[in-house]
């Protein structure tokens, strides 16, 4: 550094950054692909000056030096352009000459990414590796009196129900008297959670839909996918594939004009309607689709101008309480489809979730409750919300189940758990644990992005730029230059692979437990954990 170069508080060195880009001059061919692909412009072509000294061995000839120039890659240290560690540079480099390396100590960048008084916002999820779900073991293996089943050959009926179940007495009476019996869907217990058409790129969304359709129509697995806020492409609304879709309505009501307009032309009812009150990654906060992602297509579907940020308020502005929302919104949604479509709310994992649940138990229309725990992913949220707010899903779902059991309604309101399910790759084990703790099914978002499209995000703050539409893989971008990187058919194929693999793993868990004809909802006697307090809190066995 030159002695007169200004040093400000935000002057950082490469060492202060979270990710440092290592570049090998000898391998580099200066093709420029790495700088072209970098989604955050963290690297640029650099001109370097180098002194070459030639020492003379003859006394009469003086030693010389020359100043030469060479070209290479330079990492920017401006906090606005800090490397996010996505390693796309490495993916495109023909010679492996470049790779980002994570800093060996806590970065100083974190103190400086609040320029203009704007706290850091990002996509992704909590960035806390590990978690309770991975510690849970399945300890009750059938051996003698009840031989274990064969996951490969026995029949399995691992379906769950989405919809309000009446108590058997009422159900029989209503059936006899031709009364209204709430609609119930039999679905696969692993649901692709709400990621909107605006948040995901068209290629990603289409790939997911294609995969879901294939799973349903060719493989007979009733997999369902939630749209997230922002509506649904008109062509899908009028197609037979709508029945595989859960439509979400959130506090911004984006895209609902389009849905309402399509009603008379709908060939099929949607699987269900999800009313979003909260999301696990930023509880108590609304949705936000940043302007980067609002292109012409998204604007048309959402019925908004191009290029403006689309914040949804934290609450439904027309309702002041869950009681009112349940009474009005759930009922009017039912009415919209002639009382044929289950409607349920989705809330964030919080200690107040029980209040919501208790309220739902008294509403004959509420078709379920989805709870999204603190590890849930999101398109755009403040760092502080993501890292420090929310409730873990395991205890929340367990409390909810116990609460229902106490009321004798554990069969009546299905609970769906989301938030970090499979975040360390153990999807089936995490899902099975949640089901045995009392969930009727689980929702996944980021897992499917990672599995089906190779999302680069990790639990250690890698990438996490889904919010600004620069997703290096083109998963969460609305920029055709980025999303054309993603092959729709390959995404669909990976969705199918992921679900089939999950199905086999789930069977490999439940078959040794001797379960096959019903999903083991609440089978907590099969669970153990090596943490005494967690065992006590969850009401499962303590094993060491």
């Amino acid at each position: 550094m030159l002695p007169d170069r200004p040093i400000t508080p935000s002057t950082l060195s490469v060492k202060d950054l979270l990710w440092q880009v290592l570049w090998d001059k000898d391998k580099c061919t200066l093709c420029g692909r790495c700088t072209a692909v970098c989604p955050v412009n963290a690297i640029e072509l650099g001109v370097f000056r180098k002194r070459e000294f030639t020492a003379s061995l003859e006394p009469e000839r003086p030693s010389t030096n020359v100043y030469k120039v060479y070209h290479g890659i330079r990492q920017k240290t401006d906090p606005a352009y800090a490397c996010v560690g996505c390693a796309m540079c490495n993916q495109v480099c023909p010679n492996d000459a470049i790779i980002p390396i994570r800093s060996d100590e806590a970065d100083k960048l974190r103190f400086h990414i609040n320029r203009g008084g704007q706290p850091r916002s990002r996509g992704g999820r909590r960035n806390v590796p590990g978690g309770l779900l991975d510690q849970i073991k399945f300890i009750r293996i059938s051996m003698l009196t009840d031989p274990a089943l064969d996951a490969g050959r026995h029949e399995f009926e691992l379906r769950t129900l989405l919809g309000r179940m009446l108590p058997p007495e009422d159900n029989i009476r209503f059936y006899k008297e031709n009364g209204w019996i709430p609609p119930v869907r039999e679905i696969y217990p692993l649901i692709i959670g709400s990621m909107s058409f605006g948040a995901l790129s068209p290629n990603m969304w289409e790939g997911l839909q294609l995969g879901v359709a294939y799973l349903n129509e060719e493989l007979g697995m009733p997999v369902r996918m939630c749209t997230g806020e922002g509506g649904c492409p008109p062509r899908l609304l009028r197609s037979r594939f709508l029945k595989y879709t859960i439509l979400q309505i959130a506090s911004g009501y984006f895209g609902w004009d389009e849905i309402i307009h399509a009603l008379p032309d709908m060939q099929e009812d949607p699987c269900a309607v999800e009313i979003k009150y909260g999301q696990g990654a930023k509880p108590g906060d609304g949705g936000l689709l940043m302007w980067h992602k609002v292109n012409k297509l998204i604007a048309a579907i959402r019925g908004v101008p191009v290029g403006v940020s689309l914040p949804s308020p934290p609450t439904h502005q027309t309702k002041y309480s869950i009681e009112e929302a349940v009474a009005k919104m759930i009922q009017s949604m039912y009415m919209t489809w002639g009382f044929r479509v289950p409607v349920y709310p989705k809330i964030s994992g919080t200690s107040t979730a029980m209040a919501v649940l208790n309220n739902l138990t008294r509403n004959p229309y509420a078709a379920g409750l989805a709870i999204d725990g603190e590890d849930g992913g999101t398109g755009a949220a403040y760092n502080v919300s993501m890292n420090h707010m929310g409730h873990p899903i395991a205890t929340n779902i367990r409390d909810a189940y116990f609460n229902l059991a106490k009321l004798g309604k554990q069969n009546e309101i299905p609970l769906f758990a989301g938030g970090g399910v499979g975040k360390n790759g153990n999807l089936a084990a995490n899902a099975a644990a949640l089901i045995m703790l009392g969930a009727s099914g689980v929702q996944i978002g980021k897992y499917i992005m990672q599995a089906a499209a190779g999302c680069l995000g990790s639990e250690s703050d890698r990438c996490n730029i889904c919010n600004i539409g620069r997703c290096p893989k083109g998963i969460t971008s609305q920029d055709p230059r980025l999303y054309r990187r993603l092959d729709v058919d390959m995404v669909a194929e990976r969705v199918v692979d992921a679900f089939l693999a999950f199905d086999m793993e789930l069977k490999k868990i439940v078959a040794p437990l001797g379960r096959s004809t019903t999903l083991p909802i609440g089978m907590s006697d099969a669970l153990g954990i090596g943490d005494h307090h967690a065992a006590e809190r969850l009401g499962i066995k303590y094993v060491v």
Binding site: E157, A405, T517
Partner: protein, 376 residues
């Protein structure tokens, strides 16, 4: 694995028939215990079909406490069988003071009560006695119901039977259910021993129900008097039967639809598919999972057998008009009714419910694919 045997006969039989059947099926159980259920009683009990009979095991102190309690309630002893325990203790069987079978006279003020109220009070008294016994370890109460005797004990069935002299005339009955083996999943506890009984419904099971915990939680939350205990994962079978018939008002043929519902493709083709789908959904929490052969008895003295969804447990029904037996193995059947037409023996498969009605004339087989007598 446990062994099950049940017999229903026009002429009263000695429980030793069941013990002998159990003995020939010895290879299938480890002789660790026996449970006996007798109903449609003969002998002295023939004349007192309405009198509630208390069966249980008591210490000397326990029996005094029992007497005081029952007297306070206004119950008078009408008849009793004293099973005198031989001085030499049976190896492996705990030392007991008294095995009690005692028929009571209802208190006078009960006479005006509706039947349902009487039924509930009988259950309450049984539960109260059981709780008292668990407090002081001086009473084990198996049943308190008219025309029903239950005896359960740890030990080899035949040895226990001889030890307690099951061959005595007073114990003859027209419906006998017996199970060989104690509970092996949890602690040895006589309350975990089959058959289980509630308000006229009894079942015994062979196998393991892996859906036990969620079913138990569901049944407990029904707030039904008597849905309690659950020392065994099989006790829920009895309560589901009681719930199906007593609370939901459905027939025995629906029981199988509740514990092992049909899969969706079959439901779509079923003549009563729409109703059964509703039932499958609303009773989802009662679906059992695991290999189970269930033999049960209804208040009208019908006997039945059902199998789990995969039919992983043995079970056979055979006999002749007037006398039919349900057995885990054919050798048990051979021992009890050797002169039957063996070609008519029936082994229920995963869809069947085999029923022998109170007239004991024939085996009725209803398949889950048959139309149901619907409530509409």
């Amino acid at each position: 694995m446990c062994r099950l045997f049940a017999i229903t006969s026009k002429t009263p039989l000695s429980p030793m028939i069941a013990m002998e059947a159990m003995d020939v099926m010895r290879e299938g159980h480890d002789g660790s215990g026996v449970g006996l259920f007798l109903r449609d009683l003969a002998g002295p009990f023939e004349e007192m079909k309405d009198a509630p009979i208390l069966s249980g095991i008591f210490t000397d102190a326990g029996i005094k406490r029992l007497d005081r309690y029952m007297m306070d309630l206004g119950f008078m002893t009408k008849y009793k069988i004293s099973i005198k325990v031989p001085k030499v203790k049976l190896p492996g069987t705990p030392k007991r003071d008294v095995y009690l079978i005692r028929a009571y006279e209802y208190p006078e003020e009960w006479e005006a009560l509706p039947k349902q109220e009487v039924d509930n009070r009988l259950v309450s008294i049984r539960l109260q006695l059981r709780a008292m016994g668990e407090e002081e370890q001086d009473m084990i109460v198996f049943s308190f119901w008219p025309d029903v005797i239950m005896i359960k004990e740890i030990g080899d069935p035949m040895q226990v039977a001889r030890h307690l002299n099951f061959g005595r005339q007073e114990l003859n009955a027209r419906v006998i259910m017996a199970q060989g083996r104690q509970n092996t999943n949890y602690a040895i506890n006589l309350y975990a021993c089959h058959p289980f009984f509630i308000q006229g419904y009894a079942t015994m099971t062979n196998g393991e129900n892996t859906a036990f915990v969620p079913i138990r939680e569901y049944l407990l939350s029904r707030q039904v008097l008597g849905y309690t205990g659950y020392q065994s994962d099989s006790e829920v079978f009895t309560h589901i039967l009681h719930y199906t018939i007593h609370h939901l008002g459905l027939g025995l043929e629906t029981y199988k639809h509740i514990i092992t519902p049909l899969q969706n493709e079959a439901l779509e083709k079923h003549p009563s598919g729409a109703f059964l789908k509703q039932l499958k959904h609303s009773c989802r929490q009662l679906t059992i999972d695991g290999p189970n052969c269930v033999i049960g008895c209804l208040p009208d003295h019908s006997l039945f057998m059902v199998q789990d969804r995969k039919k992983l447990r043995p079970g056979v029904v055979g006999g002749k008009p007037g006398c039919w037996a349900f057995s885990s193995e054919i050798c048990g059947l051979d021992a009890a009714i050797p002169d039957r037409d063996k070609s008519k023996d029936f082994q229920p498969m995963h869809l069947d419910t085999t029923i022998v009605g109170p007239d004991r004339q024939e085996i009725a087989i209803c398949s889950q694919t048959d139309p149901l007598p619907l409530p509409r």
